[in-house]
């Protein structure tokens, strides 16, 4: 591995000054489960690696604040999966975080890192999208909040500007009844990237949100406002028709993991499956125990 300069700032101000100074020449190190692999392979050759793990202002926990759950920039997947509030109120996110890598990876990988990588296949992105997650960004001159559905720009690209860091991710706590679920398909069980992943959220009003991963340059959020999907008299053919029109927004590519045609076929099956789980949860009002 080519060596690099390593900086471990103790304060947020110090870190923000460094990311401002070095811009695209800096690589941010948080959990490192992705970055270290890329550094070792020489796919990134940064002038400086900035480690965020000793900055108290970037929290490593989940707090409840102003009708949100706030996930700190340093919060790791394992802690999301284990959190009772996430499991009961945001079960699709707990399910998605649990699919990330292995136990060892989930002990290091952060939710913020997963989002900042902006992989079209990021496992947590579809769930965050259906829950209306908001990314809180910070820079030396101030802060701004970006809804996740406007955060991704393309593979590996986000709206983040030079000098900005993710401070936290907010999950709005809903008052209305809802049910949600996540599913993904991989080539093998265990450590693998998603061939396709899907999250679904249905509301008592009948509105249904779906978010698809790995079928477009960015994770894709779509919604059905007809209210039909949750109706008991909605026949399978009618459901299939609605799902098909939602799926038509996806534009998958063929790559090492699957062909475009296969991805569409998986999307059809996974959509039906997560819709079924989400409706069951809406009716039983239960998240994960």
């Amino acid at each position: 591995m080519k060596s690099f300069t390593y900086a471990r700032p103790d304060s947020l101000n110090e870190a923000l000054a460094l990311v401002e100074e070095f811009g695209p020449k800096a690589t941010i190190l948080s959990g490192g489960t992705d970055v270290v692999v890329r550094l070792r392979a020489g796919r990134v050759l940064p002038a400086i690696v900035i480690d965020l793990k000793r900055i108290p202002a970037l929290r490593a926990d989940i707090i409840e604040i102003d009708n949100h759950l706030r996930v700190g920039a340093r919060t790791v997947m394992a802690d999301l999966v284990a959190d009772a509030r996430v499991r009961s109120r945001f079960p699709a996110l707990a399910e998605a975080a649990h699919e990330v890598g292995s136990m060892q990876i989930r002990n290091r990988a952060t939710l913020a890192g997963n989002i900042c990588n902006a992989s079209p296949a990021a496992d947590t992105a579809p769930s965050l999208l259906v829950y209306g997650a908001v990314v809180n960004l910070v820079r030396s001159t101030g802060t701004r909040s970006v809804p996740l559905d406007r955060f991704f720009v393309g593979p590996g690209k986000t709206v983040m500007e030079r000098g900005e860091l993710v401070e936290s991710i907010d999950l709005p706590l809903a008052r209305e009844r809802r049910g949600s679920a996540f599913a993904r398909a991989t080539r093998r069980r265990g450590v693998d990237l998603a061939t396709v992943n899907v999250a679904c959220l249905v509301k008592a009003s009948g509105q249904a949100l779906f978010a698809y991963g790995a079928v477009a340059p960015t994770p894709l959020l779509v919604s059905d406002e007809s209210g039909r999907l949750t109706e008991r008299d909605c026949r399978e053919e009618e459901k299939a028709g609605i799902l098909e029109s939602l799926i038509s927004h996806a534009a998958p590519i063929s790559d090492v993991r699957a062909s475009d045609v296969y991805r569409k076929a998986l999307l059809r099956i996974l959509s039906r499956r997560v819709l079924g789980s989400a409706i069951a949860r809406l009716q039983s009002q239960e998240g994960l125990s």
């Binding site: 300069t5 390593y6 490192g32 489960t33 270290v36 990876i105 290091r108």
Partner: protein, 161 residues
């Protein structure tokens, strides 16, 4: 802290209960330091991508792939490797259970497997078979001795309160 390619920095950490220090360059992994500087070769180097789990150690009580951690990140941390799993002259219950269930074939994956199992039992003292499979999913065994690992972990868990 700032470390540069030209100037090694000294990190201080605890390995298997013993205070240690090492001079490291920024790109050295925790795995490099354990094996090449401290001579703790029980931790195995294999895929270097976080896929196989052979380099699993506990860092501050959590199972991690030491190939994905830079040594500088372990500064002030606490590391447990396979060499520190048992106490002097006495095997850990998991090691005994692995031996008794015949879980060890070529042995290469075993240090990582044991530390992943150790972490699993710390967080979940009585795992189900499915939970063991899930907990050990990040550890590959090319001898494919998975069935016996599960037996070994179940046996070791029986002794837990």
């Amino acid at each position: 802290m700032i470390a540069t390619p030209a100037q090694p920095v000294t990190i201080r950490f605890t390995v298997n209960g013993e205070p240690c220090s090492a001079k490291v360059l920024p790109h050295y992994s925790l795995l490099d330091i354990l094996r090449n500087h401290l001579g703790l070769t029980g931790t195995k180097e294999c895929c270097l991508q976080g896929e196989c789990g052979a380099c699993t150690v506990l860092l501050n009580g959590r199972a991690v792939d030491s190939c994905l951690v830079f040594a500088v990140e372990a500064d002030e941390g606490e590391v447990l490797t396979i060499e520190g799993l048992g106490s002097k002259g006495k095997l850990d219950a998991l090691q005994t259970a692995f031996l008794e269930s015949g879980a060890v074939q070529c042995g290469f994956c075993i240090p990582g497997m044991l530390l992943a199992a150790k972490y699993l039992l710390t967080t979940n003292p009585h795992p189900t078979k499915a939970e063991i499979q899930d907990g050990l999913a990040g550890n590959l065994c090319r001898c494919a001795g998975y069935y016996r690992f599960i037996e070994g972990v179940l046996a070791a868990a029986e002794a837990n309160p």
